[in-house]
């Protein structure tokens, strides 16, 4: 075989292997989406959004679970977002090369990959045991702890993308560091930070394990943050394992709903990033 033919062969081989790997990955994603849509779309009706989770055998919806998920995710990001952003700001602007920053970065990476069930257990010990009962606020806190490392990382990365020249210009104008950060660096990195927050929301809106130990579940409507609160992941978990067809159907619908929400959030994050990239080119 000539050298050229050999090269063409290797190229073809590499191309087919990577193509195959991509196809395998996409196949499972497609299969999951297809299964969700096939099984979930049938149960999608107005009832899902207007009625409470039903007892076995009767009709109902997911309203209380949707409400609970939205509330706990929002509180989670309201606590975790600012903490993560400020910590990321410290790492990118104030700490940079300090020893403390290196420790924080390492710990943050550990936290980022810590199993979420551990975080659930931690909050269980921290809040649930002390309060004596499960509660929505405990659920929100555990979601916040999951959101923090994600936000820290994205904020630091995005702030590091702001050109040093821009920061120097503000410093040379006689601006204190906090002024440079709030007036120049944050506006320059705004879309990146927003993207990070969206991704953090997407991440925590699907978490089940931490809520199992903290917010638990509630069959009824509850807006009391001190009491157990229904939420989509735990409802899906409970209903999918049940022997009742109407519960199983609602679990499929809930799963489809969560997946679509995360999809929309991720696409939104992508769009923000691409508009940022275009803005940067100009």
């Amino acid at each position: 075989m000539s050298r050229r033919a050999l090269r063409t062969f290797y190229n073809l081989l590499a191309l087919s292997l990577s193509g195959l790997a991509t196809a395998i990955g996409l196949f499972f994603l497609g299969a999951i989406l297809w299964t969700l849509i096939k099984n979930g779309i049938g149960g999608m009706s107005l009832n899902v959004f207007t009625q409470m989770t039903p007892p076995p055998g009767s009709s109902g919806g997911l309203l209380n679970a949707i409400y609970g998920s939205v509330v706990m995710t929002l509180i989670g990001i309201l606590i975790g977002g600012p903490v993560g952003m400020l910590a990321g700001t410290y790492l990118a602007e104030y700490g940079r090369t300090s020893r403390l920053s290196m420790v924080i970065r390492f710990v943050n990476d550990v936290l980022l990959s810590a199993p979420s069930i551990i975080i659930g257990l931690f909050v269980y010990e921290l809040l649930v045991v002390r309060m004596g009962h499960f509660s929505a606020i405990a659920g929100a806190v555990s979601l916040a702890i999951i959101a923090i490392p994600v936000t820290v990382r994205t904020t630091e990365d995005m702030l590091n993308l702001v050109p040093q020249g821009m920061k120097d210009a503000s410093t040379a104008m006689g601006a204190y560091p906090w002024r440079t950060i709030t007036s120049v660096v944050y506006p320059a990195a705004r879309s990146g930070i927003v993207t990070g927050l969206l991704l953090a929301i997407a991440r925590i809106s699907g978490e089940t394990a931490p809520l199992l130990f903290t917010a638990l579940n509630n069959q009824f409507w509850s807006s009391n943050l001190g009491a157990p609160m229904a939420n989509l992941p735990v409802v899906i978990f409970q209903f999918a394992l049940s022997p009742y067809p109407n519960w199983q159907q609602l679990a499929w619908s809930g799963a489809l709903l969560i997946t679509l929400t995360i999809l929309v959030l991720s696409v939104a994050a992508r769009l923000v990033v691409s508009s940022l990239a275009q803005g940067g080119k100009r």
Binding site: D168, A172, S183
Partner: protein
């Protein structure tokens, strides 16, 4: 920032700037200053009633001495040009004057730098307050991600210089006029500063700098990212600004130094080799290294 010699990071190829200008003959040997005898910088280093008075200024990045005892004065209402091959310490020296080296981890400055007779490195001297009195224009135009108006209003706002909106409007208007940008942007003050052309952006940065009425303006190769026409405009502007400000400019272009400056300082491998009246330095250099550089034998 890629072309600039970034202080703090060791330059991987300190002769890059030299090689770039070199004719086909290939590698160049940068003679060490000591080979050519001691630097007679004392003779014309001082002026009467200087803005800046620098004595034996040394900068260390870690253990490396990047600036080896520079003694020079900056006179009022005149332009001091600093020339020399890449990595010779001229930008490092410039950044001493507004203590921008403070922002680099591991950088240490020794010696005395007096601004109007006041030691800017004194313990009780707040670097942030100091920088408000010294403007700086960078190599790469770096407008903030704000409107043209807000870019110029940034300094007056952070220092609380104005009490009313109309006062601020006046400052923005006069600063843009002095920077020669007003006619081009007066109808779009609210559009983003980043949308301007490179030369306009640099004039915007100059307008932003003079909006706070600094005592000195430092310029770090302000024209190296601009085309010849934009460069000519900035040079005219420097000449006008000289009527009110002391200006220190780092430049790689000897023609530019000759055109805009009254005094020229030649740096070589971290040492100030020669400083004097620009005409004298260019026509009758006292030091062999200066002569070699300005006649294009290297650099």
């Amino acid at each position: 920032m890629s072309e600039s010699t970034e202080p703090g990071q060791p330059d991987p190829n300190p002769n890059a700037g030299v090689l770039r200008h070199l004719k086909p003959s290939g590698r160049v040997h940068l003679p060490a200053a000591s080979e050519a005898g001691p630097a007679p910088s004392g003779s014309q280093a001082t002026v009467e009633n200087p803005v800046f008075s620098c004595r034996d200024v040394r900068v260390f990045y870690g253990a490396k001495e990047a600036l080896k005892g520079v003694t020079v004065d900056v006179g009022r209402r005149q332009v001091l040009a600093m020339i020399g091959p890449s990595g010779c310490g001229k930008s490092t020296f410039l950044r001493c004057l507004n203590r921008m080296n403070d922002t680099i981890a591991g950088a240490r400055v020794t010696g005395t730098i007096l601004l109007d007779g006041q030691d800017i490195q004194a313990q009780d001297q707040d670097a942030v307050q100091l920088r408000a009195r010294i403007g700086m224009v960078f190599q790469k135009p770096n407008p903030f991600p704000k409107s043209i108006y807000d870019n110029v209003a940034y300094g007056p706002r952070i220092h609380g210089l104005t009490r009313s909106r109309s006062e601020l409007d006046d400052i923005v208007c006069t600063s843009l006029q002095r920077a020669g940008l007003w006619d081009e942007v007066k109808d779009r003050l609210q559009s983003p500063g980043t949308g301007l052309s490179g030369g306009q952006q640099q004039r915007l940065c100059i307008a932003r700098t003079i909006a706070v009425h600094p005592e000195v303006i430092l310029m770090d190769e302000p024209c190296s990212a601009l085309d010849p026409i934009a460069t000519a405009r900035i040079e005219d502007l420097i000449d006008e600004l000289r009527e009110s400000y002391a200006i220190v400019i780092v430049t790689h272009s000897m023609q530019q130094a000759a055109r805009v400056s009254q005094r020229t300082a030649y740096f070589h491998l971290g040492e100030l080799i020669e400083v004097g009246e620009t005409d004298r330095v260019f026509t009758n250099p006292r030091h062999r290294l200066t002569e070699d550089y300005i006649t294009g034998r290297f650099g």
